[in-house]
Symmetry: C2
Subunit: 133 residues, 2 copies
DNA sequence: CTTGACCTTCCGGTAAGTGGAACCATTAGA
DNA sequence: TCTAATGGTTCCACTTACCGGAAGGTCAAG
């Protein structure tokens, strides 16, 4: 398959696929004309990567996950550890964003949003860091 | 004040302050010896920026916010619009992360995490995109 | 006079790609 | 057969918001 076809099939942009090859996640064969020649296993890797990336795993985690995927002697504990670490990162981020959201909501709700210059949002930003959060 | 002192006072690293000058957020005076010489207004700007950045506003938004802050003829509506846009970005991100979290939680909960290779997480990643989310 | 802390600029790197230029290959149509 | 369209190729620059480090200038203290 040409790159356009695996791009279509995997849902990843061709640019991204080339990039993945560049950083060594992939090693597709080459034809005589220099074109990449992707096999079914390459496509499979790419869909694996697409899914893993869509779950927010970093490229480095994807690399490890992929090697575990291809290693029949793996321990599921290793996979789970990566996923749990990622999950707690996500949970941490969510709580950060929730606290951010409350602050922003509060600021926004107190601003009239009219043609006048008075603005509690700017007041907050301008008033150093002596606040309650 | 020297950069180390405003860094201390604003809570921003000196590197960041130089960067902010570089991208035109700031224009501190210079002494004869080439050292930056920060005034009270510079420090005020920096604390404004530190707070705005900590609320997750982009540098570009900070630039706009700062110019509104310094513009006595502003409309609070302009400020509010920026904050609301940011708030909805945050809310959007939160809901994305929540759905991600559910998926990851589900995957993690179904993985034994032992020394055996069987792993529902890898099964999911490897099984194309024919799933329910 | 030297040591150490502080300042300066500049270069490179980060994550994960995206956009574009310049160029080659393949194929369909006039 | 020429040409145009489409789709490959490589390489370089750009993105965000900085951080790390090198090479070197400045300043106060001992």
């Amino acid at each position: 398959m040409n790159i356009g076809q695996v791009a279509e099939a995997s849902g990843l942009p061709a640019k991204t696929i080339r990039y993945y090859e560049d950083i060594g996640l992939l090693n597709p064969a080459r034809r005589a004309n220099g074109y990449r020649d992707f096999g079914g296993d390459d496509l499979h890797k790419l869909t694996f990567l697409a899914r893993a990336r869509s779950l927010g795993f970093s490229i480095d985690e994807c690399r490890t996950l992929l090697s575990l995927y291809e290693n029949r002697a793996r321990s599921s504990a290793d996979v789970k550890a990566i996923a749990e670490a990622h999950l707690s990162r996500v949970e941490h981020k969510i709580s950060e964003l929730n606290s951010l959201k409350r602050t922003l909501r509060d600021l926004v709700d107190h601003c009239r949003g009219d043609e006048r210059p008075e603005c509690p949002i700017l007041d907050d930003l301008g008033r150093g860091s002596d606040r309650a959060n």
